[in-house]
Amino acid sequence: MTRLVGYDALAVALAVALFGVLAAAFAARRGEAALGALVRGSVFTLFGLTSVAVLAMVFALVSHDFSISYVAQVGSRSTPLFFTIISLWGALEGSILFWVWVLSLWAALVVWRNREISGRLIPYTGIVLLGISAFFLILLVGPANPFGLVTPVPSDGPGPNPLLQNHVLMAVHPPLLYLGYVGMSVPFAFAIAALISGDARQDRWLRLTRRWTLLAWGFLTAAIVAGMWWSYEVLGWGGYWAWDPVENASFLPWLTATAFLHSVMVQERRGMLRLWNVNLIVSTYALTILGTFLTRSGVLSSVHAFTTGTIGYYFLAFIAVVLLVSLVLVAGHSESLRGEGRLDAPIARETVFLLNNLFLTAFMFTVLLGTLFPLVAEAVRGVKVSVGEPFFNRMTLPLCAALLFLMGVGPALPWRRSDLAQARAKLLLPGGVALVVAVLSAVLLTRNAYAVAAFAFAAFAIVCNVREYWLGAAARRRAHGEAPATALVNLIAANRRRYGGYLAHIGVVAIALGVAASSAFRKEHDATLKRGEKMSVAGFELQLDSLWGREEPQRAVVGATLRLMHDGREVDRLTPRMNFYRTQDQPVPTPAVRSRLWGDLYLNLMAFEQDGSSATIRAITEPLVPWIWIGGGIVCLGALVALSGPARKRVPVHETTGPEREPSPLPLPELEPARTA
């Protein structure tokens, strides 16, 4: 019953999506109103039907309906309810089902939010989203059907992949990732629609797109940070990023989307970079699909699965369509996408944005190259190679440093033109601070050149971005006599997009500091302790108190309880564990992390004697790791602030007579050209 409801909802949803795309061709002739109504109707119906299918699957999982193939694959009577529900996205078929649902949710939101807007842009956007949904629905109805029939009905299933039922972040990371990843379909759909409808010649479509991109980008950022956190808390190696293809797959579109969020400002302000921006949007989407293909079709390493089936070929066909359609459309219309403005002076904010885009794109290509190289090498030379962390680290660290530097310079320079003297005046203070930080950290902390550079550039960027807040708030205090806190709040409220951006910069600096410090100063201590024995770690003593085991319905747990002592007093108790799931030989480590603002103490149970007499413990100290999570939160907060602001109308800065309004040393919001709608 549940099976039929779910499957039929998907089949009808596919019919609706295809009908919407095909019927649009006829409705277009009967005028915009008919077209709009048709697309809205199709999109809302699609959303309703995919919601039914998702609810049917959740119900099947919760009711342990093992006659449904997906439940038989990931369900188990002994798995706790919470993990049973979220195993909706724990394997291939379910995650595609969830993907389609998120996609139809985005489509419904786009169509509903823009229902008042006339013209063909929005209906065409809806049609592109319906077309994309149709592809994923074909997968669900055919090769990746989650509602397959299993006979005879098994009495129990293996449960979800142990790694996926070991931590609550599993409930957070995938939905965020899907919201971000799938959300990039929206700007893509807008871009394709704008190219087809001819809207691409104006900038209106871009203003409509920007906030959707920002929203999806915010989700993607949160997802990447949550994924790092999850791997840190679950995988037991004390790291959070390994340049694994799956990680790179989420990071690649993030880089191009970040580049777009910056270069879009140049187009809005100056009418430049039109073609470039369309390219960034299209690449971002192509990279999300490429990433999904690479990690879910068994081309690069993926979770061990015997049944990858034929889904790879469907994805390949879809990538081919996406690439061909977007390349042909963008190149074919490239003449009408020519910009109208041009750079006035080398020292201006535009230049910084151009460099930022250059570096972010280079970053993307570096990561893409590293990810695809094993494939290229095997295709060309027939050898199996792997590209490891050293390549990525060596290639990307200079880019990171350059981006941190630009993140400071950008806010300090005005639009259009500046001169050397002015730039020097603006950059003197942050440059000085950076120099002091570099010298101090080289003398006191480390000889690692990368770490010193990271601290110096981070200091530079933080001074520049915080100063923008400081100067703005100070100006308000003087002009309006506001209290410091009020001035700060009003400053942000008056120009949320700009100060949201600066807030995101501050978050990125925090992440950079966390990454630099935790990699440069990471220390590992291994020791095999008998009960009562101690090891000393970073000024503390760790004493093995007991080694214990316990049976849980879905797993067996072995844990070690350790006392953390300081000056002979117990300050904390930590219990690193190993979880043994019945369907997997390898235990799943569950490290114990004592997190403080200045760093983490990370304990992992490496081995133990069966009789409980001794345990091998790895203790890792990693400074500033929490700053990565906090920084991620700040970036997302920045995105929220920027999103809450009203959309900006393009204010072309005309060739004025007389001196261009010189950027005041006090960036008074009131002095900026009106930027509210």
Binding site: S69, D156, F306
Partner: protein
């Protein structure tokens, strides 16, 4: 619309798609098992389901790989919670019957499972024609380097592992691999 530019740009997509197409033809996880060519790890496991074939040791009896020396042995690792195992069960049962009189012995080793579930599974699948063995602590699975279920190992009459197959095994592969072992000259 400038079609010349469009065509040139479209041509850019072709090598990318070609590369990805190539990627689909290879398996990044295909790591050669060190086992083929070596003597199979000896096992000594208790029977928990005799099966209804000609080689049907009684329940509780022990099956030792060394005692089967001289026969071609097919060792299949499976579990009741494993979906692909359902797909290969009929082939295994059928081939076990077909090759029984030619000295080929099939054994199923159950992997990380509850005996009651495994017994019910065999019942539900309509019985099987070869014995099923218990592997406490998955010792034997570890010895054989089993990564997941199902995996099937082919052991020649001299006791060396000839090959292994990962995933549900098709009847044609079963037949071909057994045949190649039967004609192999005994060294």
């Amino acid at each position: 619309m400038n079609w010349r530019r469009a065509l040139i740009a479209g041509a850019v997509a072709i090598p990318i798609i070609g590369l990805l197409r190539f990627g689909l033809t290879r398996d990044p996880r295909a790591i050669a098992s060190p086992l083929p060519g070596r003597t199979a790890p000896a096992f000594d496991l208790a029977v928990f389901a005799s099966g209804n074939g000609t080689f049907a040791p009684t329940r509780g009896e022990r099956v030792r790989l060394n005692d089967l020396r001289g026969n071609v042995v097919v060792v299949n690792f499976w579990a009741s919670w494993c979906l692909p195992c359902r797909d290969e069960h009929a082939q295994l049962s059928e081939m076990s019957t077909r090759y029984a009189n030619r000295g080929v012995r099939f054994v199923g080793v159950v992997y990380n499972d509850v005996t009651a579930n495994a017994l019910r599974w065999i019942d539900e699948m309509g019985g099987q024609t070869y014995p099923a063995l218990l592997d406490p602590g998955t010792r034997t699975a570890i010895d054989f380097g089993v990564y997941g279920v199902p995996e099937t190992f082919f052991i020649g009459s001299d006791g060396t592992v000839a090959s292994k197959f990962v995933g549900p095994i098709p009847a044609s592969v079963l037949q071909q691999r057994i045949d190649s072992l039967l004609v192999a000259p005994v060294p």
